[in-house]
């Protein structure tokens, strides 16, 4: 495998997609609370949920975004680049909509859960995928691949 086969946009999108996949296992939402029980004292606890544990269609959508961002890079690395003129556009579009959806979750968390670090890192990674897709589109137009 030769990373030089990847364009700058493909590289940015692929690295962001791998980062988003790893981040999806970090805590995205959490619930914390404590109850004082007479005779026992404070009984407190908190529970965190990763992207996959929260009941939200965002997990399936972001999995699609990760796959769409990774496939062109994997095809280019394996030397079977093929002709996929829609791939950079699909990466930019789906990554952009994904960024919008995560941003919405930052302001309106499901069930008033707490925001955790994964949510913010996921937002950055998804924005990275959108930027990578946009850069790929620009490179394709510049290189007249269309």
């Amino acid at each position: 495998m030769d990373a030089n086969r990847l364009s700058q946009g493909q590289l940015v999108a692929a690295v962001s997609a791998i980062a988003l996949f790893i981040i999806s296992f970090l805590p995205w939402f959490g619930i914390s609370g404590g109850v004082v029980v007479q005779g026992v004292g404070a009984v407190g606890g908190s529970e965190n949920f990763s992207l996959w544990e929260s009941e939200n269609p965002l997990d399936i959508y972001l999995l699609i975004v990760i796959l769409v961002a990774l496939v062109p890079a994997l095809l280019a690395l394996s030397g079977g680049g093929g002709d996929a003129p829609l791939a950079p556009f699909a990466t930019a579009l789906l990554g952009g909509v994904g960024t919008l959806l995560i941003l919405y979750q930052v302001f309106d968390t499901p069930g008033d859960l707490d925001r955790k670090v994964g949510l913010f890192l996921g937002l950055i990674a998804c924005a990275g995928i959108a930027v990578g897709g946009y850069l790929s589109m620009q490179e394709d137009v510049g290189g007249e691949r269309y």
Binding site: E55, N56, P57, L58, I60, Y61, I64, L86, F89, A90, L93, L94, V97, L100, L101, Y104, Q105, P110
Partner: protein
Amino acid sequence: MGGRLSQGQVIAAVGAAALLVAMFLPWVGVSGPSLPSGVQLPQAVGTGSTSDNIWEGSTLDIYLLVTVIVAALPALLALADASEEFSFVSAATFLLGFVGVILVAAFLTVDFPDGADRKYGAFIGLGAALVIAFGGFRAMQEEVGGEI
């Protein structure tokens, strides 16, 4: 207006209108047990049925709203007599509609709340997303055909 729109764009716009309407219909319902006549429950215990549309849910509502706007964009521009044309709208309509079908299908199967009932709004939404994806695909084909 219709003359300026391709067949695919018209199909996508009809799908977008249907999806927008479907989003206000019940998608999820909870049915309570029926009681024999004469049995009375405390006031706080309900036995009826409730239903919610997709706006009560999660990010799926925002995603479907974005899909509706993108699919209806060519028709809205034609209605406004605007001369702008966005070259990627058909491809965007196809992509968003196709992913929308996957998300609604996943919502109806793996992501559906436990113990709740599937209502007709969800199935109309699934059909409308399919129509949008087909319309976008058809519009892409028509654009390619027009360039030859």
